[in-house]
């Protein structure tokens, strides 16, 4: 097969509207976007700016009203429900702000669910789930129900679940929205590890700390992009000043 595309996600003129004539709301308004393979992209903006909607469009959870959307060289804006489901099974992993774990399944059963849906044998799915839980540092809580886990732990289970079918792209919608400072750090570490392993990440957030870990940061307002910042290559030498240790 051809070598993998360097641009993993490409959007052109993407639009999403709600409502009818006289009450049309443009959630996403003519957005052009390119995400390179292996890149970590953060999208920031105030509530209601359309960043979550954009993420849902990229992940195939919703269909655009207009525009083109390409994932790994394939055009996905016109796919049927069934093909979108396949996409979600194999190419894309989604992490939600509210975790959205099944309350009646243990951590392990939650993580193995996508693998089972993709047709893997129960034994294989279980092995993979154990491995992933180990990766996120929750191996000894594999048999706990979500109600017995803290917010940060639940989000880590959700991240492990998103990785179950080895996706190329991980989409995270406000992954630290419900978490405190310490839990946020846990999640940050995980994302760093995934990034280092070559996974492509698109994170929607209004937490500057998450945004700062990305390679590129896009600001969004009223459905369009208003600013883009490249963050790689930082400044050094001011740390001491920041800490208040500078000479007086």
């Amino acid at each position: 097969m051809n070598e993998p595309e360097k641009v993993l996600v490409r959007a052109q003129g993407l639009r999403k509207e709600y409502g009818r004539e006289g009450g049309l709301a443009r959630a996403v308004n003519s957005v052009d976007l390119e995400v390179a393979r292996g890149e970590a992209l953060a999208i920031m903006g105030p509530s209601g700016c359309g960043k979550s909607t954009l993420l849902h469009l990229i992940g195939g959870l919703d269909r655009p009203s207009a525009g083109e959307l390409w994932l790994a060289g394939r055009r996905i804006d016109r796919l049927s429900e069934r093909e979108l489901a396949r996409l979600r099974r194999h190419e894309v992993g989604f992490v939600f702000q509210a975790y959205h774990l099944m309350d009646e399944l243990t951590a392990q059963e939650n993580v193995e669910l996508p693998a089972l849906l993709a047709g893997r044998s129960p034994g294989e799915a279980r092995r993979r789930a154990r491995q992933l839980l180990d990766q996120v540092g929750l191996a000894e809580r594999a048999d706990y129900l979500p109600s017995a886990l803290s917010g940060g732990q639940r989000q880590r289970v959700a991240i492990a679940r998103a990785l179950a079918n080895e996706p190329q792209l991980v989409l995270a919608d406000e992954p630290t929205g419900n978490l405190d400072s310490a839990a946020t750090l846990e999640v940050l570490r995980l994302f760093e590890a995934l990034h280092a392993a070559g996974l492509t990440l698109v994170i929607v957030t209004h937490d500057e700390r998450i945004a700062a870990t990305a390679d590129r940061l896009i600001s969004m307002r009223d459905g369009t992009f208003v600013d883009e910042t490249h963050l790689a290559g930082g400044t050094r030498g001011n740390l001491v000043d920041l800490a208040g240790l500078g000479s007086e």
């Binding site: 429900e81 309350d103 399944l105 089972l116 849906l117 129960p122």
Partner: protein
């Protein structure tokens, strides 16, 4: 006063906010109330028509029957061989005269007619075969029991008059030609009488019939012919019976008269029957109909109750949350309970009213006395007890529907009620482990359906009740080949069967709908993880099949139990053929699968993001 007003406002507001759910609850309770009303109001409704017929035809107070050819004098019932030698025709006539003569002059008797010869024979009209009880009459009018012609003219040589209900059942009209015992006759009229019960009760208990050989394979109806024709039909052995109609000076003393003169010990004495027992014979059919309707209405009430339970269960989370909200803004648990109660009592009372109205209107439609008696029964009155009972049941249902969320919410903390952590879905490790080995749709379906075990039980119960009713009906029909039931009973069983199926279908839709509603979050999540909407719809539909199968299988012994319990008298229960049972089970599964597919399909198509966002709001 202010509190009361507040309670009213809150209750009415909630009902208007969710009108559809309130309406569905009302309909479900009303269905139960209507069937209960129907069952309770069918009481003794043959009185009037029988009385009217008796007056018009100058019906007898006592009928005496004499069977000349037998060692036992009382008329044998179906298919029993007479035994004993038969006396030749004229000798039989003399024997009848000697036996019956004393009765003509007994004290208290003011008039008599007969004795009339009676014989039983095969009847053929067109391609239909049946059997007939032929009573020989003269062409003039009789002092006692003068059958009232509904159509046509009275008997003449070669011309017979058919009893009206018999004619209606077999589609016999004036002018048709038929064969009695091989001989051709023309139908010259149809008539009603009060001396012998109408078809299909002609050979019911009171009079007894002489059914031998293949005559006994059919349920005989009454046919009047001239005496000569009747005696000719009887053949060389002569008429099998003679009937004497007596009129007393005091009709109320008919039973006493019968007790005095009926002599079971003597083999040659005639057997007497009072007009009350003939009326009961007529009423037997109605009694059967009533039994079918009464039993059926209890089954329907159970199904309606299941509907209510499903609907209330579906609203439970929302109601619990409402209770939590009211508590959070300062309502005491008692106040909260009062609001809930008020709301449901309103619904319950309206439902009782609707149910009573519907039941009262429908009862006359199913309760017709049939063609064999004159006129319509008095509209079954709604007695005070019926009204009170129905209202009480409807209120009880409404109250139970209130109390469960109210008590539940009162017991737990406000926070838990608000957060809806109150009713977490049930975890079944066994199902989760087993379903991992199934293909994706079944995996999802099994896990989704098992989240609410109570609803699963309700669906098994609903199917079981329905199939019990249907099996009981099948048993009735399986028996009817040997002893025909008549159109009214068939009508009643058909009505009950249709209503059972309709209510069961409604239940299936309710259950599927509440399940789809409740499962929309995990279903959306499954779709976000890669399941297709088709997989979810298929999975849920298939997941409801095992409980449906269990219910259908439970219905078989259930139906047998119902039949055994409802009918009086002994004898074995004939099982319906295995083919019918298997067909019923398969049909049930197909219908359930089809019905559950519709609501789940609608729910599975909403955009995933929308559903997931809504849950976090």
């Amino acid at each position: 006063m202010g509190r009361l007003l507040l309670v009213c406002r809150l209750a009415v507001k909630d009902l208007r906010y969710r009108p559809v759910q309130a309406l569905l609850l009302l309909l479900a309770i009303a269905a139960g109330a209507a069937t209960l009303t129907l069952g309770l109001s069918l009481q003794g409704t043959t009185n009037n028509p029988y009385a009217r017929t008796r007056t018009v035809t100058n019906g007898p107070d006592v009928v005496a029957s004499f069977f000349p050819g037998n060692s036992n004098a009382s008329g044998p019932a179906t298919g029993v061989n007479p035994g004993g030698s038969n006396t030749p025709g004229t000798g039989a006539g003399e024997a009848a005269a000697t036996s019956l003569l004393p009765l003509e002059h007994a004290s208290g008797v003011v008039a008599h007619s007969g004795p009339y010869p009676v014989t039983w024979t095969l009847l053929q009209i067109g391609h239909t075969t049946g059997s007939a009880e032929v009573e020989g009459r003269n062409s003039g009018s009789s002092p006692v029991d003068h059958p009232r012609l509904m159509q046509g003219t009275w008997v003449r040589p070669g011309g017979v008059v058919v009893e009206a209900a018999f004619a209606s059942a077999f589609g016999i009209h004036v002018g048709d030609s038929l064969r009695l015992g091989g001989t051709a006759f023309r139908v010259v009229g149809t008539a009603v009488t009060a001396a012998i019960p109408a078809y299909p009760g002609t050979c019911g208990r009171p009079i007894g019939c002489f059914l031998v050989g293949n005559i006994g394979s059919y349920n005989p109806g009454l046919v009047w012919a001239t005496e000569a024709d009747a005696k000719q039909l009887a053949g060389s052995s002569g008429p099998e019976a003679y009937l004497l109609n007596l009129k007393l000076n005091n009709p109320a003393k008919a039973r006493a008269f019968v007790n005095r003169y009926d002599n079971n010990a003597s083999s040659t004495a005639p057997t007497l029957y009072s007009w009350q027992s003939i009326r009961d014979g007529d009423a037997q059919v109605i009694a059967k109909v009533q039994k079918v309707l009464f039993t059926g209405s209890w089954l329907l009430a159970l199904l309606a109750l299941t509907s209510v339970a499903v609907l209330v269960g579906g609203r439970m989370t929302e109601q619990t949350r409402r209770v939590g909200l009211l508590k959070a803004v300062g309502g005491t648990p008692r106040f909260v309970a009062v609001v809930l109660l008020f709301e449901h009592v309103l619904v319950g009372l309206c439902a009782a009213g609707v149910g009573l109205l519907v039941g009262w209107q429908v009862a006359p439609l199913v309760d017709k006395p049939g063609a064999g008696l004159l006129g319509a029964p008095s509209a079954p009155s709604l007695t005070g007890t019926t009204v009170a009972l129905v209202v009480a049941v409807a209120l009880a249902v409404a109250i139970v529907a209130t109390f469960v969320p109210a008590i539940r919410a009162a017991r737990q903390s406000t926070v838990a009620a608000l957060e809806d952590s109150a009713r977490p879905p049930r975890r079944s490790a066994a199902v989760i482990n087993l379903s991992a080995h199934l293909p994706a749709p079944l995996l999802l379906g099994a896990r989704l359906v098992v989240r609410r075990p109570r609803r699963l039980l309700l669906s098994v119960f609903s199917v079981a009740v329905t199939t019990s009713g249907l099996v009981a009906v099948l048993i009735i029909h399986a028996r009817s080949a040997t002893w025909s039931l008549g159109p009214q009973v068939i009508q009643a069983t058909t009505i009950i069967s249709v209503m059972l199926i309709v209510l069961a279908a409604v239940n299936a839709v309710f259950i599927a709908w509440t399940t789809a509603l409740e499962a929309r979050h995990p279903a959306a999540l499954a779709r976000a993880l890669g399941a297709t909407p088709e997989q979810i719809t298929t999975g849920l539909s298939v997941a409801f099949l095992p409980p449906a199968l269990l219910g259908a299988l439970l219905g078989i012994p259930g139906g047998i139990a119902i039949y055994d319990g409802a009918r009086s008298g002994g004898g074995t229960t004939t099982l319906p053929s295995a083919l019918w049972l298997v067909a019923m089970v398969i049909l049930t599964l197909l219908v359930i699968a089809g019905l559950t597919a519709v609501p789940t399909r609608i729910g599975a198509r909403r955009p995933v993001a929308e559903v997931l966002q809504a849950e976090t709001a």
